[in-house]
Symmetry: C2
Subunit: 225 residues, 2 copies
């Protein structure tokens, strides 16, 4: 238990989604149990979240246990349950933090002219994948979601509700959600082939070259008539 908690879990998105704003303070989504926290130490909470990300990354959703997370964080399992609830809820809280950079994508879409939305979104998301530090948690989420229905549901909820719906809302087109999903399919498919399967020449190609190829396609999905 450190006395100097880092502020790493602050919500990076200026506008939290509706339904989470009943408190004046940003409420951590993971803590859903009724009783108030007795030892509200941001340091401990962050340490558990960091351990959870490590465990889910290394083992995937199915093989990770609350007990293993607690052990890695140096706390009792009961404290993990106290802060987050079930394993699914720990997972959701951990990937929500991991997703924080990606959740800025709607802002990347909003800032600037609509003709550049494809490039901004592509550059943003592939940039997150290209950075090993931000790639690791995304890879862990993808692995878990592909292998486990519970993890897929969490992924679906976060990606659909928090990311794609917000991108779609800014398009103002009747089929905006399908457009956003097909654009996401191109970007996620590219990330998977490049960073997970590592197909060549895609894996070694210059990122700018890939963005130059993918961005017009994403633009087309989002805004073409």
């Amino acid at each position: 238990m450190t006395g100097d908690p880092p502020p790493a879990t602050d919500d990076p998105a200026p506008g939290p989604p509706a339904g989470d704003s009943t408190d004046s303070a940003p409420a951590p989504r993971g803590r859903r149990r009724g009783r108030p926290p007795r030892t509200e130490s941001a340091g401990t909470r962050d340490r558990i979240l960091a351990a959870a990300r490590e465990e889910f990354s290394a083992r995937g959703y199915e093989k990770t246990s609350v007990r293993g997370i607690a052990k890695a964080a140096g706390v009792d399992s009961a404290l993990v349950h106290h802060y987050f609830g079930t394993k699914e809820q720990v997972f959701e809280a951990a990937i929500e933090v991991a997703f924080a950079p990606a959740l800025n994508a709607p802002h990347a879409v909003a800032d600037g002219p609509v003709e550049g939305v494809g490039e901004r979104l592509t550059r943003f998301v592939l940039g997150v994948w290209d950075n090993p530090t931000t790639r690791a948690p995304l890879l862990a989420i993808l692995r878990s979601a592909v292998n486990n229905e519970t993890a897929a549901a969490v992924f679906r909820r976060l990606v659909a509700a928090q990311l794609l719906r917000r991108v779609a809302a800014q398009l103002d087109l009747p089929d905006a959600e399908l457009r956003a999903e097909l654009a996401a399919a191109q970007i996620v498919g590219t990330a998977m082939m490049r960073y997970v399967i590592k197909l060549e020449p895609l894996a070694s190609a210059d990122l700018e070259q890939i963005i130059a190829r993918v961005a017009p396609v994403v633009q087309g999905h989002l805004t073409a008539p």
Copy 2:
């Protein structure tokens, strides 16, 4: 041991890739051990392959064992090793059979005018994904490849060498391989979002609607200037 082996493992592609054509008969890639088979029963071999597909589908690469495959096929582990070799080689043989429909994709590309290549390829691959019978083994391969480096290498080898390089060879463009990979990224990404993550509205959309959206993008990747 049935006396009437089904011809399910015949090579569906008329032209096997270079390096596999030293025998006049189509040589099963999986059998690489030196000694000749004593009990060359296509029925037994097919039964082991079917069991292997089932096991890899249900458990993924890491959790599947040669022993488990042997048990599911009702044979001794030694027989599995005899026919196929290591677990990696059983996996490769199993996914090669599972990939058989997808390996017809280069022909789908070749047959017809180049302006329709995007639609033919998209229709073909999404059609394989849309059929639950042919989807199951692809899903198993994807799951294994995302989770295990050995399985990813097998996937890479098969997809890159047998599928994408053959698509690329028919394009006759200097960057044909990168084009084929980005086209594949759109198709595989769409399949993943629709059939694995099950994002809505994409998951419930009519297949023809999806093909109509994705095909022009694939066409653009493959042939646009």
